[in-house]
Amino acid sequence: MKKILLTLAFAFSIMQVCNAQLFSTATGNISFFSKTPVEDIDAHSKTGLGVMNIEKLEMAFKVANPSFEFHNKLMQEHFNEKYMESEKYPFSQFSGKINEAVDLTKDGEYKVTVTGKLTIHGVEKGRTISGVIVVKDGQINIKSDFKVLVKDHNIEIPKLVTAKIAEEITVSVDITLLPKK
């Protein structure tokens, strides 16, 4: 009896792993913008990592801070050295769950909100972020623009450059996920 139960449990757990509808990518586009009257700064990473479970409607994203490319390499260095402290906090990440009951196995465009945790500069914040999910040809595309307040994540901007760096940064995400093998 015990044996059968164990075998069942084992088979069931294996099934769960195999059935999990996972989509993933290692080439997500993540960019951010800082706009002030003095200076516009934007940076772009093409190596955002993402995984999504379309059954449980859960998702997780992660990006290496040094992978953000700036036009001005000095800004890139300062971004890593002075603001993100990438040696201490190498990644920024978000994980959350879709609030709406959507069926992502069917093609279509879905406006959703996702509630979860956003971690930047080692500071975790509960956030609800809205975005659009497009399911088409077996691919899932996620697009979202959201704001991040630098002071929410304990990122201090020296007085001397306050005119150049916005307090509110717009983060823009455009990630296409493929079925995970």
């Binding site: 164990l6 075998t7 084992f10 040696e87 001397l160």
Partner: protein
Amino acid sequence: MINQMKKIFTGIALFIFALNVSAQDDLLNMIEKETPKTSTPVYATFKSSRIINMQSNENMKAKHMDFRIQHRFGTTENGAYDFFGLDVAQMRLSFDYGVTDRFMIGVGRNTMNKTYDGYAKYQLMQQKTKGKNSFPIGITYYGNMAINTLTFADPTRDNFFSSRLTYCNQIIFTRKFNDYISVAISPTMVHHNLVSTGTNDIYALGIGASFKITRSTRFNVEYIPRLNGRNDIKDSKGNPMYYDAFAFGFDIETGGHVFQLHFTNAQGLIEQQFITENTNKIAFNTLRFGFNLSRTFSFDKSRK
């Protein structure tokens, strides 16, 4: 045997169950496992392409230009009479340009001996953090050539253009130990085509260090002992003519500018001058105030 099997089965089953709980964190963990552990070059070993007088391993990145104004005032030994040396000033203006992210060229003009200099600097190896392809130190080559354009001291004798030329070759070994401490050791060779007495080739070992104080300021110190020809040239009193260069100072960085404020006993702003032609002892009253001012411009307009 069966008991053992059972245990193993239970173990595996539990393990896989455990994998399935708390799925959001799970997804993050899944990414974690798949994140390639490739190493990236360390950044900001030093704040600027110069530690103080010495070259650091830092380069201008591709299509970035650094406009640099370096000043050295007179020694403080005359006190208020020449305003602690500020009446006397010599300077160097230079443009540094990044050809690639690791290769930089530059030209400069020095007040001292009306010297023009041109140089190249290449990061042979970059220090990389732990992971695949990590490398513990940075190795950088720096070479320059300088032309002294003073009129010849004795126009009556046969003077050759080649006697105006001096060279410097340097390998810069650097290591950023952590966020707060970086060190450079630079074996250096300076060659003078023409010397009055003594040797044409002077070898020296540059030693420099940088300590982070805040996100925008650092304390730097450097000392460049010569390894040969130290007492070859004597002044009229029989004392050595030239001394080793020493310097300490602060970096203050404000966005696109780096201000380096320091005290040094050395005069001259290229290796030929501050390593091999420095006539000041290391002493309190022979220190001089100086600054380097660096402004970086980016010409990189490409869409990333």
